[in-house]
Amino acid sequence: MTTYAFAAALFTIGLAGMALLPNLLRKLLAMNVMQVAVIVFFVSLAFKDGATVPILGQGGAPVAAEFMNPLPHTLMLTAIVVSVSTTGLALGLLVRVRSRFETLNERRLLDRLR
């Protein structure tokens, strides 16, 4: 529960940053924090007390209770990829915005667009 609450806190910080910070690059950093929060949540769902890393070592047939749940791990690999892809594309957009409008401040940008 404590762990989940930390994920919720990170998510809230990220989402609030996206909505409230005026600078577009900062919004992007906040977006990354928000995405990491979801990953933290999923990874904490995969944890089992007394279990180990989901890689089969030497020995007999594996028992489910002995290994961490590999499914959320897999999903979160995909989520990390999605997050870096989005960030890459967003940074490309920002380079273009900065080159065209000479600011990354949302308010200045809105004034310039008016």
Partner: protein, 278 residues
Amino acid sequence: MGASPPPRHEASRVRRLLGAAAFPALFTGLVLGMAELPEFGDPASPASTHVSPRFIEDAAAETGAANMVTAVLADYRGYDTLGETAVIFAAGLGCLVILAAAGGRPNLPAAGMSHPFGSVILDAATRILVPVVLLFAVYVLIHGHISPGGGFQGGVLFGSGLIMMRLVWGPAHEGGAHHPDVPVFGPSLRSSLMLACAGILGYAGIGLAAMAFGGEFLNYGTLPLGSDPAHVRELATLGIEAAVFLTVAGTVGVLFDTISIGMRENGVPIGSGRGPRE
């Protein structure tokens, strides 16, 4: 930056007030919901008992991968991974459209990397480090069956090696080296794109090949690579990982090149060798 203070808008004040109320509410709501979830670490939770036991108990026998995450990633949920590869490919394609292939005005400096640092120490360190990084990347790719790692991590590492070369030796582009002593290594923007495309084609190609042999899309078990289905799946998984590796390495190159030096080839097709550069 500009000297004038950012103008104030009433709307943004309203939004700030709204935000001050909405975000604590969001946090409270999330925590209230989380209080009812199964306890952290509970081995009897639905997540631990419903679908996942098969991935733990049967993965090695069914797919031949000791790393269960690799088994789920490349085989049970290989379709997700195809989507993931497409996502990163979409990012590379997007940056190319937005920055490199667009006729933007070059009024931003390139990201400081267009002039090689020229320091002997950096140069020597890079000469030693880059081959090690690239080799490790390939190791991570191939060893992903048994240990943490796989195509994606390997691809990122490989791309990081390329970025390291770019940072120290300057950007590669048709037209020659920037550093007087060091030949420019690393793929051009166009070859990075081709790598990325090849990865997607390879991945989907393996999936379609499985269909040609009568299985479902991405059902590697039907491929005529041997008699032991787990072994066949293991081989196909390696092929999948290699395809992901190609796409990721290529896209990392594309992303870095476009973001750090893009929009400087004013209206000239990328890779045409005519890119004007001050």
